[in-house]
Amino acid sequence: MRVLVFALLALLSFASHSAEDKYEFANAERAATFKALTHELRCPKCQNQNIADSDAIVAKDLRDKVLVLVNEGKSKQEVIDYMIDRYGYFVHYQPPVTPATIILWVLPVLIVIIGFGFIVFRQKKASKKQQWNAQEEEKLAQLIKQYQRQEHNS
């Protein structure tokens, strides 16, 4: 009997020595999803903060909701869609891909192509010039010889 009581006490004392995690998850993947979501969702009321860092009450409500959804097994995209349904695209820090926003990805690629195209174009021009010059050199040398002969003869 005393052994039992002692064992129970020992167990309890072990339990009280270690900290309690604020958020508990069934597996590491869900923990990672939760963390990613709280950093990608925007606090609707704040001055540019994600819901992880914000102290606003709406941010807390969103965090709690994300926790519930993640623990239900919802995927990251499902949670994001859930939030966008209610708060609009504003609430997600990654913009939607629409004809208006496609410029975000298209323009940089375009500039890289134009930039490299430009240098290749200049290269071609520069090398063409040299060829031309080489031909010209010959012509010029011939003309000089001709002129010198004329000079000598006259």
Binding site: P44, K45, V58, K60, D61, L62, I84, R86, G88
Partner: protein
């Protein structure tokens, strides 16, 4: 010739940008809209603020055009708009209040005193005017989240079928009413 034209591109891009920058000075970057525009009022079951035995459902609200006004006694702007909202009520606009208690934290639920809140609301409405047909208490802010509410005051214009037509963040005053709500209200009455 070619180079000359190319040379003007940076200038033109800049002018184009300036147009938007200028417009930006007069906009409000913090204005938000719910994602629920054009959709039906989400389903809910919530108690009346003054009488917890009375439960309100989304189906109860259908049948008439109404404004759903999100407010709280802690919010000075909400108090300020009560006067004008009461005027609107007298003009026949149906206004239902959604009480948003921002201090209520489910983790500390046992510290919340419903009776104190009711007294506070009663006093406030007697003093500043009562525009509400009734008030729905959204203690856990579940309906607020479903509607995309981030604070108070916010107002939704809902038609008789329960479709959300407008969402306004900020107080309702004559200017806002004329610019935003009146046109839609007129359309609805036709």
């Amino acid at each position: 010739m070619n180079k000359k034209l190319l040379g003007f591109i940076p200038f033109l891009i800049f002018i184009f940008l300036c147009v938007f920058l200028y417009q930006g000075l007069f906009g409000n970057p913090r204005e938000l809209q719910t994602g629920r525009i054009g959709q039906a009022m989400p389903s809910f079951v919530l108690p009346d603020l003054m009488d917890e035995s009375k439960q309100w459902r989304d189906s109860d609200l259908k049948g008439q055009v109404y404004l759903l006004n999100v407010w709280g006694t802690w919010c000075p702007t909400c108090i300020a708009e009560l006067g004008y909202l009461t005027e609107l009520r007298e003009q026949g606009v149906r206004i239902i209040g959604l009480y948003y208690e921002q201090a209520y934290d489910p983790d500390f639920g046992d510290q919340f005193d419903i009776n104190a809140l009711r007294n506070e609301v009663q006093t406030m409405l007697e003093r500043a005017g009562n525009p509400y047909q009734f008030n729905i208490l959204d203690l856990d802010r579940t309906l607020a989240l479903d509607l995309g509410v981030s604070g108070a005051p916010e107002t939704f214009l809902v038609d008789a079928n329960g479709k959300i037509l407008l969402h306004h963040t900020g107080d309702i005053n004559p200017r806002v009413w004329r610019a935003k709500f009146a046109p839609v209200m007129q359309e609805l009455s036709q």
